[in-house]
Subunit: 497 residues, 2 copies
């Protein structure tokens, strides 16, 4: 086989892998959105079988030779980037012994099940031994990957979610955040207190009316229904494949504001997937760059564009119309108070954008310590509660709303959390650059026209796929690698301006 | 590897194959019921990749040895039947050269696409060359399978849909049907003319009300929503897997009667799948016996149980309530006239149970002649129209409502049609046996209680899976192999009684 053939052969192999993964994405969406409960066992078997098939295709015995042969002839820049991503994905898959992969899959599944019950019962004691066993296995994975990639163990885990992400870099970024966030938060809270709380918006807000409003907003956000759907699931997510993006939300009749922003958030994820380079479908270079960039797109839509004064002014009449409501509580001014409310709290997923980074910094500290072997699971509740007090000034009354609130660790995901705040920073940086590059973007958003923004994102982010690192894509788009400055400017302008 | 290990290894292999096929079933359901149109290309790739994977697993190089080794040690009767089915499925998959499998998959897909357009335009000329090429390929497949199975070519095709089905047997059965059907039809039409037509039931019947009525009937039919769903698709079908059965229908606001019986028909299919032996999930012996038995279950629900006088009396008040309608047109008496109407027509899927067999007999004759090489595609319209005139006394005015009306041939399915009428005969035979075995069955149906019927079907049909031939299962359940007598008795009782 010639080296050129080797590359073509790899593209074919990865296309097949992508097709299996695409099928898995449909199976996962179906499980969450439409599957009757009695289908769970059969579905679990289908997913397990397809996962093994995808893994077998990826780790086939001839891959090392194919990757080596493909690299020995000239390829164009996209092909080079594709080959680089193929190698990265393959190395992550082969760095860990197959036996360990299977053990950890079972242990994650089991720990997650225990967590569901334990969280509801605020029973950390029953979770702790399972979670410690899982952590021990994750540390073995981290050690295997660290050896294979010549990285620090935590970095080796982080690299899977955020390719090229390194703790040393995050330490600097999060340190810069910490240098101003506590003071900024204090100022915001003071100022907010002087302004008073938003007026309550009493429900009920019928699900059908919320759905109709969501449909209207999807149109505004240029969500392409020929290539996507909106459905309901318990945990909102974005799934499917780039040409068939499935987003979900959950409606509460007592409050329309969370589901509405939830739909906008998922639409940001969906637009990223949808805008990935169409000629590289099914190839690793055609995939999203990483979780930081993915979160930047959802937060750019949710936090930057759609919590802007301009968009809220556009939104308020739609809300009044959707629910047939009126009065002070449904003015743009009150909606702004709702959507710009800052309140240190216990729960990450309920946090505003000022306090959210503190939740992430806590988790980042703790998971680094756990992976380093410096923190035992048994000592997690104390460390968590002390950290919450230090970082957010609140102390959880129990573990259910403390160190047991997130699925990530019981699910085996360590090294994921920092990408949320890296995404928030990237969102601010990208939105500032977009507005500077095209002054029509923000006024258009105020008219409900997202075409200019979307055009800029397509060109500068989405269509890059994985051709370049997160920092390379950000530098091309904004003139600089990931930094804190734009995020700080954004928070000051919105909350202290 | 010991022979016992070989059998265990085969069970494991077939479980994996079933998981891939289960995933394919979800992908197909999704395509028909919920997929946005822009997802079609990616879905096609996913389905193609998984189909190849399933085929590769089934035709792997070690299968012949495994099947041989597994047969050399004692197995219990279910295991023996399972091994028998494994061999059958494997022989069908390996009898045809891989290159031919791929060529015919492409040609079927292409011909089906041409058919969609050509049918709409009544343009048989543009379909004919494609269909002839496809027929040539199907004849090659038939020849390959005939050699491998030592069967007549048509039988070799039929065997895939109806294991053990043989044209010689069908000739006898259909000959018996023809010996009384024309005369019976004449008598029925005469009698019907003297009674007058049913009163029209003017719409509109809102989709929501039809859906609510369908939900009510699903409950009556013991459809288990923990293990199934009802959705909408252009062509109604039953899909999914036994623990997660997905049925679909299509609502027309001008007429509720077709969708209602459509849902009942698919529920019969669904109950069969759902009742397959649960300890043999994922094994060939745990699958439905064949298409004749499958159709017998849908027709037993639709034609035998739910067009009975007893059920129509139960149904009529539900219809009146569902649509808030009253008057003569919505009495049980009028609903009976609607559901027992006999009318020779052009279209098979619109046909009543008296004229339906004639549609099938025509197709059976023609496809046998085509496979034998005695009928060219170019001569199909003439043969079709002559056959319609002979068998049904009507002559199609065009090919769209003539020989182009069905998807089967353009989709590459030859040997499928006879199973519809074999199913109708089996349904009559099984229902008669069920009523004789448990006299509570029919009165219970009149009360909307399907538990006695379902219990009998579970025990005598569903739980048999593929353990035994169609005739063995029928003989155990009814005392005799498939025959015409019960069907004849049923038609005479309902239409001349």
């Amino acid at each position: 086989m010639t080296a050129t053939n080797a590359y073509a052969h790899l593209e074919d192999r990865f296309r097949r892998i992508a097709n299996v993964q695409g099928a898995l994405a449909v199976l996962h969406w179906d499980s969450a959105a439409v599957m009757p409960p009695g289908g769970a066992a059969a579905r679990g078997e289908q997913i397990a079988t397809l996962s093994v098939i995808a893994h077998d295709l990826l780790t086939a015995g001839d891959m090392a030779d194919l990757l080596a042969a493909a690299g020995s002839v000239p390829l164009d820049p996209w092909q080079q980037a594709n080959l680089h991503e193929m190698s990265r994905v393959w190395r992550h898959a082969t760095a860990v012994p197959q036996a360990l992969v299977e053990v950890i899959a079972r242990q994650s599944h089991e720990t997650e099940l225990v967590w569901r019950t334990a969280r509801g019962a605020d029973d950390f004691k029953s979770l702790a031994p399972k979670l410690q066993s899982l952590l021990d296995l994750v540390r073995q994975v981290a050690a295997s990957k660290a050896a294979s990639f010549d990285l620090d163990p935590y970095d080796a885990l982080l690299d899977e979610y955020e390719p090229g992400g390194r703790a040393a870099r995050i330490d600097v970024l999060f340190g810069e955040l910490q240098s101003f966030l506590p003071e900024l938060r204090g100022q915001v809270l003071e100022r907010q207190a002087s302004r008073g709380a938003p007026l309550p918006q009493p429900g009920p807000f019928p699900v059908e009316a919320q759905r109709a409003l969501a449909d209207r907003i999807l149109d505004v956000l240029q969500f392409d229904r020929a290539h996507g759907r909106l459905d309901v699931s318990h945990h909102p997510f974005t799934g499917g494949v780039p040409d068939d993006v499935r987003i979900t939300t959950r409606y509460a009749t007592s409050d329309f504001t969370r589901s509405l922003m939830g739909v906008i958030h998922e639409t940001g994820h969906a637009q990223y997937e949808r805008g990935l380079p169409s000629s590289w479908r099914g190839q690793p270079v055609g995939n999203a760059r990483g979780m930081a960039m993915h979160e930047s797109q959802s937060l750019l839509f949710e936090m930057q564009a759609c919590r802007s004064l301009e968009f809220i002014d556009f939104l308020a009449p739609l809300v009044r119309e959707a629910f047939g409501r009126d009065g002070e509580a449904f003015t743009a001014a009150n909606l702004r108070l709702v959507y710009h409310r800052v309140q240190p709290g216990l729960i990450r997923v309920d946090a505003d954008e000022v306090t959210y980074p503190s939740h992430v910094i806590l988790r980042y500290r703790l998971e680094r310590a756990m992976i380093a072997g410096d923190l035992k699971v048994a000592d997690l509740p104390g460390a968590w509660n002390d950290g919450m007090e230090e970082l957010l000034g609140v102390r959880p009354p129990d573990d259910a709303d403390g160190c047991m609130q997130d699925i990530h660790w019981p699910g085996g995901s360590f090294g994921y959390f920092p990408t949320y705040t890296m995404g928030a920073m990237a969102a601010a940086q990208l939105f500032a650059a977009a507005k500077a590059a095209d002054p029509a973007i923000l006024p258009s958003i105020g008219q409900g026209d997202f075409k200019p923004l979307l055009a800029w994102l397509r060109r500068n982010v989405h269509e890059k796929g994985s051709n370049g690192t997160t920092d390379e894509i950000l530098t091309q788009a904004t003139g600089m690698p990931l930094g804190v400055a734009a995020f700080k400017t954004h928070l000051e302008a919105r909350y202290l301006g």
